[in-house]
Symmetry: D2
Subunit: 293 residues, 4 copies
């Protein structure tokens, strides 16, 4: 198989490196070409431009947000004009439900295939092939590409045939993670103001009911109040709350907790939090309790 | 040691049965005496009234709420008038921070000792000695009674010397659990309205980031929409939200997510939800999305 | 008629002065006796203690909160032990629904009468006899005392026979006022950040749809950001939100906007806002938008 | 002056009729031509298409939402391609801040002028020339057109030179009105559940602190629970909450009360409320209190 991978950020470079272990021919591309070098050193081909994907059987994309995907795929001379009929676009980016549906329609019109395959996991999980993949699309496409998904993720879940449903699930998952951050932030502010050490408190929680890496990792960030450098920057979290609420509004689903989180992210932005990890929203509870300077 | 145990509900009867394995003399009491029989059959003494605890070295109490504890301990001819000087009252009930502080002061005035030892876990964990105990009080008391705590719980955590801080931690924990219920309820409503099966969705979550019994158990209740019979009844959850918010207000700590939960519980009560499990608040999101009849 | 008036704070002293114009014998009392002098100079009798109200036909009370009323009326040697059978207690304080019901029962047991008559209006309105009275109690009592109400207020509204319902209405009114403060605070933060002068904005609002003193007065406080000295101190507003939410919880009525307001007041308290006017909660929106230093 | 008016809905037809009293030549247009007849009967010219506005000095538009304005003005053969250089487009529609800024830029590029002039008031106020106009644009344009504004509105307010700021103010005003609806809805649910008649309660409020048509009118809708036919349909209110929150997010301003309102509107939509007046969101509080069937 001729496999392309576009978008070599923190996540994408790890995923592309994993694909190199699949035994397929891997061709990579990134707008800022320096990032291609490390992968080229490991055996990937470096594409010069999107035309180089004309012979690809499948192209993965892993980009920051809707505008980046729109620009790469749909705008003038975009990927959709370069892929051959029958080629598959596997979109791993965390994008809106609406854009994913739009991509599905556009590729179908161009005689191409489209799968949504957003992922859960941080850059270290990407590099280790330990991501969780959320897949939606035609079953036969998923079967055809399963070996590729297996080198990227520790497990993949097929949620539907309509690709955009994978994006909905992904966004809902980021909402759940943000909820964990908010609830931990409030609980820690409370017990700390009441005189309980917040590290000891976190140890209690994660040694009992909440014995899972997600609570341990975000709990540690909150207990340490260490939000830089960001593992996942606050503006990306804000974008995801915006996207999950937009999807929910389209479906007539009120999400009051997501609304609360949205307001938290906007406030963090107003306070200059753009360079912090998104878990910094969890410190606003401590701030409101008068615990921070 | 002469050990007393008062309050033989779903939780207390399991805890008292575990204490029987400690090798100490165990005397039990319950307002409705029928519940004492099963424990008497296993070797416990059945007390006739509170005077029977005059020789106790330590008395555990496990009651439903503040009024029950106040009535038993502080009102006319209450436990505090029966215990000998130096005896220890170990309060396991989920009560308010304010009442716990009041009990500490009252016992001190009576020359008695007081420990707060609220627990995390459902009745099955109580019966199996698998609870988590949150302890606060004088270190030497905790050391003296550690063997008893060890037959009740799989692990105990000492959080402070001031007893009421254990109650604060316990309440904050119930807030965190309620937050899990709300967030799962909203996320499930969203994906279900978007066309994703909610059981499959739950499996995805609990096979990946949320691989922990708490999410599995509450997630299953929500996915099955099975809220009766209650494991932990909605009015108790409502009480806990009220208590955590009262403690927070006393400490000048705003908790917006707890406020949202409080409103959810009140609404559930208005809809006649008193006999349902507290996880039923998580179904309000589905109701608001038009998913329920 | 022998008329008593207890509680000569900012509101009570104005109301008592108005009663002097009724032609009845007015006897006043205040814990800190200095405040009685001005009224004595205008013709009131100054009581030495509660026993001096033994011959009163009616006694008005205007106190700060539940503990003050409980202490004065219900505790040892309280007013209830001094009033003669048939005497009427008119409670004007903003107190809880529960305490008002308790007072009604206690006075009935003592063979006395009880009316709730909380008021809307600031100290200047009290001094001018321009308050609005919310009355609940037996119709014949209200008729008997109408001439007194007419010198205190510009208008009185009878809402029910059960006295505590007047308190419910009063608390709901303070919730509505706080809602005006919050909504104006958010709207002003928005337009100011968008480049519109907030005084000009307020002028637009209050010259068009919101042409009413309530919006003008609170709007001016917010536009000027002038919150000291307080006309109505933030802790009193916080108390009222607590009382309205407690009443609502007892009635199974969720009030999400009141919950939001409660969190705002708690946050203001955590920031040291106890000496500010309660309208200072409206500035938190500007603070969260990064508009305040 | 040659004056055009496009968009003859409930609001626009009243405004256009008022313009006929100005003594200027008025030419009207509507996609569904039947609505032009009544105005033609009163002396207006009926345009056949947008080309007929080539000689206009000023064209008012009053349309439902962003898509309608975008389609009419900006898309192929839109108004912007028909107006002559120097002609003024006065946009009265309640549209997004972003679209208003886009219109300003597009007209400037085309050598045309652009004013934003959104209005407050219902159809009856439009017909009576009693609207309030919120104006933003170049001062000389406003001066030039003041006589036209004066026949449309009882008063006009100039808020800024940048046109989109008028739209921001207009959206913030609709947020304030929605806040009134929500707060009244909650307060009425509370007192009604407590046994106070809601019409009497409304009379009390609007005879005292809230003596203003806005509270009277919306209060009556809520007390009567009469939400059809809609004066302003719920989906329009939902749109406005979306637009105000989008503008606020762009400015980094969290608006928690607007978020609460947004969730209310989404829930109303899920319950099939699209044909009700937007004040129906105020009945959700009663529903949550168990007051509605």
């Amino acid at each position: 198989m001729q496999v392309g991978f576009i978008g070599l950020g923190q996540m994408g470079s790890g995923m592309a490196a994993r694909l190199l272990t699949s035994g397929e021919n891997i061709k990579v591309f990134n707008r800022t070409p320096e990032k291609m070098q490390a992968l080229a050193d490991q055996g990937a081909q470096a594409a010069s431009n999107l035309q180089d994907f004309a012979d690809a059987d499948v192209v993965f994309t892993m980009l920051a947000d809707d505008p980046a995907v729109t620009s790469l795929v749909l705008e003038e001379n975009g990927l959709i004009t370069q892929l051959r009929p029958g080629a598959v676009h596997v979109s791993c980016s965390t994008i809106s439900v609406a854009l994913s549906a739009q991509l599905a329609a556009a590729h179908a019109k161009a005689g191409q295939e489209y799968l949504a395959a957003p992922v859960f996991g941080r850059p270290d999980a990407a590099a280790a092939g330990k991501l969780f993949l959320v897949l939606a699309g035609k079953p036969e496409l998923i079967t055809r590409l399963q070996t590729l998904f297996d080198v990227i993720g520790q497990r993949s879940f097929v949620v539907a045939e309509a690709p955009e449903k994978a994006n909905l699930v992904k966004l809902s998952g980021n909402f759940l993670i943000a909820s964990v951050i908010e609830s931990l932030g409030e609980a820690m502010a409370l017990v700390e103001k009441g005189g309980v050490d917040r590290h000891a408190y976190l140890d209690l929680l994660t040694s009992s009911l909440f014995n899972v890496p997600l609570y341990k990792n975000y709990g540690a960030l909150l207990a340490d109040r260490k939000f830089t450098p960001p593992g996942f920057a606050a503006p990306l979290g804000q974008k995801d709350m915006r996207l999950v609420l937009a999807a929910a509004e389209n479906l007539d689903v009120p999400l009051p907790l997501a609304s609360l989180l949205r307001d938290r992210f906007i406030r963090l932005a107003a306070e200059g939090g753009a360079t912090r990890d998104w878990s910094a929203v969890g410190a606003l509870a401590a701030q409101d309790a008068g615990l921070l300077p």
